[in-house]
Each structure stands twice: as C-alpha cells, then as structure tokens.
C-alpha cells in the first residue's frame, strides 16, 4: 500500500444530521488511480461519507461535520475553498441515472459550457471524447440530438458518466451506480469502471458484495457510522481482520 500515492486523506471525520451522529471518526487514505469500494448495510453511513468527499452534504440543512478531508494536500472543508471548483474536480455519479431533459449532446456539453467553453469545434471534441470514455459513443453517435431520457437505463447511466468526465475531474464518486440496472447493463458499467481507473481515482458505494469484489482494489466496511475495516479488497474478502466484517461478507447479518 505504501507505493501508492494517496489521493484523498480523511482524518477523524465526523458528520452529524441534526443530533444523529452519522459518521464516527472516519480515517482513510484513498489511493490514486484505484477503485475503492464502500460496503455495509443500509444506513451505515457509506453514502453520507461519499457525499462528504465533494461536499454535496452542504445542501442538506441542519448538518455539520468536523475533521479533515484532504484532496491533493488541500483540506476541502477549509473556509477558503470554493465548493463549485471542488465539485469540478470531484465528479459524482448517482444511484438513479439523472440525465437532464436535454439532448445527449447538450447533456455532455453542459459542464464544459458552464466552464465557458463556447466554441463548437472544441465542444464537439469534448462530447465525442467523453462519450467514447463512457463506452457510449458507438451506440449514440448517429443521434446526438436525441433526448437523453430516451435512452435505456444502462445507457442513461453511462451518459451520466460521460457528463461527469466531460469536465475533466480527477476523482469520480459513484453512489450505487448499477443498483437500478439489469445484469447486462451492470456488467458494462463494471467493465467501464475498470477502464476509468486508468485516468481517475474512483470511490464507489455498493450494496452488492460481488460487485465490490469484482471492481475494487480496496474496500472499506462501514457499520453504524463507524469504519470497521479498510484494506485491500483481496484481503477483506478472503481473510477479513474483524469478526464483524466476516459476518457481513458471509451474509450472517446486514
């Protein structure tokens, strides 16, 4: 683990919904260009943790947090941090695909346009590159003006990935990206995650333990707001260090 460069360093991170202590003293080093999976039963705080990494939780009222989350040597909870800039660097894919009610082209071009890229030729390039990266280009290249909502569920989710990579993030956060998809579409997304880690650091929340085992290099097991174990995926799934982890993985609770 030492030879890997740390992309996100989390130290003593606590998060509260009003009075509920949702995340307790989380510390973790997320390695660069690797896939880190967050597993655990519903309500264990893994999604909350994921959303803390690009400060999406700021949008929820009556929440607070302490501790530090350092991305590339910058504490993202520092008061001087511009959240908008942070989110360009840390992209997010949601559980339910949520393309805008716009054309495929406009969906992907949305981020670049917000960043003041106006030139048609440049936009065309970004759209093509992003769709290729999201493994969707071949399926949609002839019909980029079609509504993003007219695509199938799996295609929509890949469109969302294309949209996220179009702003050139360094980190991709995925919140159960395949949970609403059929097995075939899931396989495609998983293959895609495998390719994407060449370029991005990926953190993925999943309910599906086989999926965690298949796609991730590292796995963190969360339970009741605490991080029980964090290690290489291989190790977590073959010889977990903690009894609780073993119980969860073997399906004895959760």
């Amino acid at each position: 683990m030492n030879e890997l460069k740390t992309k996100i360093r989390v130290e003593n991170f606590n998060f509260y919904y009003d009075k509920k202590h949702a995340l307790k003293n989380i510390s973790m080093n997320v390695p660069e260009h690797r896939v880190t999976a967050l597993i655990g039963p519903s309500g264990c705080g893994k999604s909350t943790f994921l959303r803390s990494l690009n400060r999406m939780n700021d949008l929820i009222e009556h929440t607070r947090c302490d501790g530090t989350v350092v991305v590339d040597n910058v504490n993202i909870y520092d008061e001087a941090i511009d959240v908008v800039e942070l989110r360009k660097k840390v992209g997010m894919i949601f559980q339910r695909s949520n393309p805008f009610p716009k054309s495929i082209y406009d969906n992907v071009a949305y981020g670049p346009r917000i960043n003041n890229i106006k030139e048609k030729k440049q936009l065309d390039e970004i759209v093509e590159r992003s769709l290729i990266r999201a493994a969707l280009w071949d399926e949609v290249k002839d019909d980029l003006s079609k509504s993003g909502l007219a695509l199938s569920g799996g295609q929509q989710q890949r469109l969302c990935i294309a949209r996220a990579v179009a702003v050139d993030p360094e980190i991709l956060l995925m919140d159960e990206p395949a949970s609403a998809l059929d097995p075939l579409a899931t396989t495609k997304i998983e293959e895609l995650i495998h390719e994407l880690k060449e370029k991005y650091t990926i953190v993925i929340v999943t309910h599906n333990m086989q999926q965690a085992a298949r796609v991730s290099d590292f796995t963190a097991f969360f339970y009741m707001g605490e991080q029980i174990e964090f290690d290489e995926t291989k190790k977590i799934f073959t010889m977990p260090g903690k009894k609780q982890t073993e119980d969860y993985i073997t399906g004895r609770f959760g």
Binding site: K89, G91, F94, N98, P101, Y110
Partner: protein, 341 residues
C-alpha cells in the same frame, strides 16, 4: 370455503356514493355548457337580424342621452345628414367602428377601442407580473432559506385572495396618485395605472403555478448540475427553469386569461373612456369593464344588450382558447419535449 361467500354482493352505500359523485361532476359540466349556450344565444340576434328593426329605440334627437355635451350637437348633426345609413344598428361596419357610444341618439357600437383597451391593459399587467412572479418563484424554490420560503409563499398566495375591489380601490386612491407623481402625465386614471393594479391580481396566479412547476423539477437534476461544478444560479437558469418551462408557460397563459377577464380592478383604475389611442397614459375602457358598467342599465333584448353579450362571447372565446392552448400544447407537446418521453 362455502361457495356463497364469494358470491357478488350488492353494496348499496357504494353504489349511491358512486352515482352522487358522477352526477355532481356532470352537473358542473352541464352548468358550463349552459352558460356557454346562453351567452352565445344572446349574441345571435346581431348576426341573424342585421337590419334596422333590431334597434327598438326610436331616434329622437330631443331625448337623446350622451356622455358629453359636445356629443349632443355632433350626433344631432350626424343624424340629420345621414338618417338612412347603418348607424344605430349592430351592422358589421358599426361593430368594427372606432367609436363606442351605445346610448347616444344613433348608437355606435364600435368595439375596436374596447378590444384594444383590453389588450393594452392586459399587456401592461402581464409585462409587470411575469418577471416579478417568475423571479419570486425561483427565489422561494431555489435560493431562499427555509424561513423566508415559509413566509413568502403564503404571503403571495394571500394576495390572490384579496378581493379585486380592494385592489381596485387601492389603485384608485393610492397607486394612481403615486404613479402620476412619478411620471407626471395628464390623466390620473389610465391604462398604465390599471395595468399595474391588474398585475397584483395576476402575480399570485403566475407565481403559484410557477412555484409548483419549479418544485416539481426532480432534486436529482439539481444535484447532478451542482455535482458538475455549476453554481446555484447556473443550475437554476440552465437546468431548473428549462425543466419547468411547460408549467411556467401554462402559468403565464392562465395569468393572461385572468388579466383579460378581470373586471373590477380595471373598472376602477383605468378611467373608463373608450378612447382609441396608442398611448399608455391615457384612459381606456376594457371589454370586461364595459360589460360590468353597462349591463345593469341596458334595455333587455335591445341591440346594446346583444352587443354586450357579443363582447362577453369574445372574452369567453379568448379565455377558452388560452386554456385550450395551455392544456393541449403545454401538457402534451411541451411535456414530451422537456421530459423526453
């Protein structure tokens, strides 16, 4: 299980409830149809007996009523020189004329100034109301802290509940002087004052429907945009507003309909002179105010009466078309486009 346990049972209460609901629903439909039929029936005599007999008031110059002194001589002169033309009856020429003098010796039923008046006042009202209402809705749904939202939404919706006569009264006493002091024009009551006052009645309608439309935009879209590094304002402008467009369009159409049909405010605040002028700062008379002001004093079944019903029909058709557009175009076509089905 005994066989008759599954036998069909007759549930009297359910049958009665179902019938009552059905009857009430069809009753309201019947009411609307009957109003429709009545208004158009009272309009019809204009078109089917377009000759001099329709006008039951004999032209007697000595007894005529006019709105102003100068009118007496003018009308007297006209009726002497042209006693055999079409004035006084609701011919097409007379109806499309530019003078509205329904109770003069030779009545003139030119509805053009009234139609123009309605359009003018409504346009002013809508131009004021649309930006204010949409921005307010955007503020309360996307930017306002919770307490401000909880304060503003009911406050604006209470505005919809203020009786229009109160708004008219306010416009007549307070707003008219205030605006006159600012712009310094000649007539205290005019189209502009009426339009501004009318916008008070239109704002809550547009606001409330727009707010609903914006709130219905899925939170996931807002989150997707914010997660891409768009600011709150960019998200509101490029994602939320476009996604809410069908609803906002419907809101504006309904607002126009309300502005067009509203009577009391314009009756009180516009000065009520049927003048054909392009100026915004001169008095106007709208179609609705004309009906409101004259229907009570008109001779039943007489041409003037029929013409007022014609005006009513025009108003009816106009709002009907607006609502139809809102329903058909917005619900079916735009929803498809913006929700991509």
């Amino acid at each position: 299980m005994p066989k008759n346990q599954l036998k069909k049972k007759f549930r009297l209460g359910e049958v009665i409830a179902e019938k009552v609901v059905t009857i009430v629903a069809f009753f309201s439909l019947a009411m609307i149809t009957l109003i429709f039929v009545f208004v158009f029936r009272e309009t019809l005599p204009i078109f089917f007996s377009g000759n001099a007999e329709v006008s039951s008031v004999p032209v007697q110059i000595e007894q005529q009523e006019t709105y102003g002194d100068e009118g007496i001589q003018e009308v007297a002169m006209q009726s002497k020189t042209s006693s055999h033309d079409n004035e006084g009856i609701a011919s097409f020429d007379n109806l499309t004329g530019t003078t509205w003098q329904p109770v003069s010796g030779t009545p003139k039923f030119g509805i053009v100034p009234l139609v123009l008046g309605s359009f003018k006042v409504s346009l002013i009202a809508v131009l004021f109301a649309v930006p204010i209402a949409i921005l307010a809705a955007l503020f309360t749904s996307s930017f306002a802290p919770k307490w401000a939202k909880e304060l503003m939404k009911p406050a604006i919706e209470i505005l919809a509940g203020i009786p229009s006569v109160v708004i008219g009264f306010f416009a007549l006493i307070v707003l008219a002087s205030l605006i006159q002091n600012i712009f310094g024009y000649q007539y205290r009551l005019n189209a502009f004052v009426g339009g501004v006052a009318l916008s008070f009645a239109v704002i809550p309608i547009i606001y409330s429907i727009t707010e609903d439309a914006i709130s219905r935009v899925p939170r996931s879209l807002t989150e997707a945009s914010l997660a891409l590094g768009a600011s709150k304002w960019e998200t509101a402008l490029y994602v939320v507003l476009p996604a809410a467009t069908p609803g906002i369009f419907a809101a504006v159409l309904l607002g126009i309909g309300r502005a067009f049909g509203e009577t009391m405010i314009v009756l009180m605040a516009t000065g009520n002179a049927a003048m054909l002028t392009a100026s915004l700062f001169e008095p106007v008379r709208t179609m609705s105010a004309t009906i409101g002001a004259e229907m009570a004093e008109v001779v039943f079944g007489e041409t003037h009466y029929n013409v007022l019903f014609l005006i009513g029909s025009i108003l009816f058709l106009f709002t009907f078309v607006l609502n139809a557009i809102a329903e058909l175009f917005v619900r079916q076509r735009m929803m498809k486009k913006f929700q991509g089905i």
